[in-house]
Amino acid sequence: MSRRRRESYSDDEDDERSRKRRRTEVVDIEDRLESLITRVGEKSTSSLESNLEGLASVLEADLPNYKVKIMRILCQCVVSMPEKLTVYTTLVGLLNAKNYTCGGEFVEMLVRNLKESLKTGQWEEARMMVRFLSDLVNCHVLVAASVLQMFDNFIEVTLEDNIPQVRSDVYVYMVLSSLPWVGRELFEKKEAELNKLLDTVDSYISKRQKIHMPALRVWNVDEPHPQEEYLDCMWAQIRNLRNSKWLEKQILRPYLAFDSVLCDALQHTLPQIIPPSHNEEMVYPIPRVIFRLFDYTDVPEDTVLPGSHAIERYLIEEQIDRIIHTNHFERKDCAAALLSYPVKNKLPLNYMVVEVMFSQLFQLPCAPYLELFYGSTLIELCKLQPSSMPQVLAQASEMLFERIDHMHTICIERFVNWFSYHLSNFQLRWSWEDWSEVTSMDSEAPKAKFVREVLLKCLRLSYHQRIVESVPESFAAFLPIKPAPQYKYEQEGAGSLPGTTAAHALMNAIKSKCTPDEAAQLLRDLPNKFPNGDENDNPSYHPLKIDVFVSTLLYLGSKSFSHSFAAMAKFYPNLKSLTETEEAQIYLLKTIYNTWSTHQQRMVVLVDKLLRTEVVQCQAVANWIFSEQMQRDFTSMYVWEILHGTIKKMTKHVDQLQSEVDEARDKLDAAKRKEADGMEIFSDEEVPTEEMIERMEEKLETATSQQKNLFLIIFQRFIIVLTEHLARCESAGIDYNTTWYKWHHQLVFRYINTLESLLFTSDIDIHILEVFQQFCALRS
């Protein structure tokens, strides 16, 4: 008995083991297949053709057992490795030649994926699948006419009524960006139909609205390079390709080597692919303007940069974009991948890489990735190619500087941030003498302003003496003032100020570690005056108390940020009670400026802290920025840094409250459903009550109205400032388009998107709408 049991037990075990073994074998083989397929086309000792041939045979043998798995891997490669697109189309072509059903099933699967992507708005993936299907014509997998039919269906979207232009754009773009692959084949087999399709595209392109253009242009002039909308540029490139009989020199086409095998294969007809109709929720990609920096005269003589309307320029730039996209988390891999991109025909690869990097960094309204990614990756590029990359970057910087008068203000800001960062990584070495023209310029002129702002940013990353030593003496006027706190109660003439005695007493008390209460006692008897002795007849705030307390606190905490923060944290109750009204908060901000106007970074950080600890409100910051005191610094980048940070925090705050409300609602609804179903609710599940949610909603409502108010203030003040400027110019008989105008006008433009989404989603406040329309009218 016992023996039998043991036997049966061991039988079970054996069975279990062999099942496990079989399962691991399956997993092993699947892993091996995946690795074989994903790695084909990488650098190898044998030729691509022989690798493809070998892989096709392996896969053919595995098809009976692993068909679905193989196809899934291939479909994944279509979207995740578009740089190897033609390698995979060739592979599919070879498989189709060996096994017709398999080819058909692959096409079916890919079409299913494409339809899903179109439905869910995965436009980049859809575009890659469309291009892949197009290239399958070249591999004798698909009939040319059926791909043309798909194109026709896509182009028909341009004839739909009441759709946003971005919708038709994306479909046209999918077709155009596939034509470099399949254009020649369609031209040879279906010329008349292809021409008809292109005519429709032509008439669509000529009718498109382009009011978005000015907002997206990095350069506001078309010299030396025209600023083209992406679809216009693509269309010009396609027309050129058409003129050269659809022959291009960039795409690797491994299937040409297999022509004798492939031409015998049977072809499939693509099923109908109809674009899913438009709905309100669908989000389409926003248009771009193509950024150009270099042309053929800028690159070394032994290299040839394809012209801006050459299809090769597009094809290479798209690949560079893809490499960045794939590697943007790993700056070192990214730099290595960019420089190992295989180029033919003596292309100046490093110039093209630099141009694409800057085109992304300057992309409006936002760069695709963190600005720091571009800076750190450019450093890696310099490290990998120390003999040429630093020169190319220096040349690019020179050119950007030369053209800075026509650069979008937001891009100048990014240029300043990148350039200062780059210099600080290369011992602050730069041939400043080349830019000495700025020393005789108006201080608001873009070039002069750029130099000043760069030095300010370098100062933040370094220290004053170092900056002084790294620029020529002629640049003295551009050097930042050495940051130091201003404390009036220890300066000459302090004796006659009404706050001096209290300030000194407070300083001693704080030094001997007094409590917040004791500090408050020392201020109690100060009269409601301004620090200079003038009476204050506004009882809503107490300028002298604020000034004495805040300037003393900041002065004592001047050693570092941490010292300032520690002082503010300890005397938080005092700060709060002194700044209950908006006037008081604005006065607090003024006091900070009086103390730290030479230390911009400190101002930025202190205001950030005061906002986060809710000592000051966003609106107070906005009103202060537009106040008379700040007029002097109004075109300084740090002022915009503060305003931008304020808006960002307000928006984040609203978003967070919104998600809290949503989450609580969901929890309550789920609990209600459970109850209705007669299920038990466990006491450890925290279910919010209706009252709790109401309170949260009230908080959200307050925050939303604060947010609206903030924008209202900013735009109203803007209108006032700009109108005053226009009036001043008119009466003086000068062109309003001064540098001053440039700094203001464009900076606020970045908020247009936020503003629009804020205003046109819920109940529109008529005042805000008015202001917004006024603002837009200013630009038209």
């Binding site: 700056r331 720091l372 990614f373 750190s376 600080s424 011992q427 990353l461 370094s462 970074q601």
Partner: protein
């Protein structure tokens, strides 16, 4: 999925584990994986909190910087703890700042389980960081020769 909880590449945990951590290895790793704090090393003694703030704020919103101090002299001794508000921002600092320069020195960043009072002080015998005890090179930004070598040189002097 695995990539989410255990990031690969430059935002991944390094091999280093703080030997003074109060808790098990598993707890330590769990803390490191969700931490928003970085250890920043190889700074010059002269690099200020402000410079560090400027560089690291380019990766995201900085919550707090705790400067590392010599436990005897209470002066900066070449490291700090950098706390961000979010994990994503801290990861960006790991990706894009680690190995780049600040004050002409290559900055090293690593995950830290979170600042605890007392950790701001150097753990070397003479008050600074341990690495500055045994260094044999001359590093101007970090007080010249290592502490041990310095004592030897002094002894040889008449």
């Amino acid at each position: 999925m695995a990539a989410k909880t255990r990031p690969d590449g430059s935002a991944a945990l390094s091999q280093y584990r703080d030997q003074h951590y109060k808790g098990s290895r598993t707890e330590q790793e769990r803390a490191l994986l969700k931490s928003t704090t970085l250890y920043v090393g190889n700074l010059s003694f002269y690099t200020s909190e402000e410079q560090i703030h400027e560089l690291f704020s380019r990766a995201g919103d900085v919550k707090r910087i705790v400067m590392g101090l010599d436990k005897v002299k209470k002066t900066p001794c070449g490291f700090c703890f950098m706390e961000y508000y979010t994990r994503a921002d801290a990861e960006n600092a790991m990706r894009y700042i680690n190995g780049t320069r600040l004050d002409d020195r290559i900055v090293r960043t690593d995950w830290d389980a979170g600042f605890k009072e007392g950790r701001q002080f150097g753990r070397g015998k003479s008050g600074g960081q341990v690495r500055d005890e045994y260094r044999t090179d001359f590093d101007e930004g970090r007080g010249g020769y290592g502490k041990l070598v310095q004592t030897k040189i002094r002894r040889r002097d008449p």
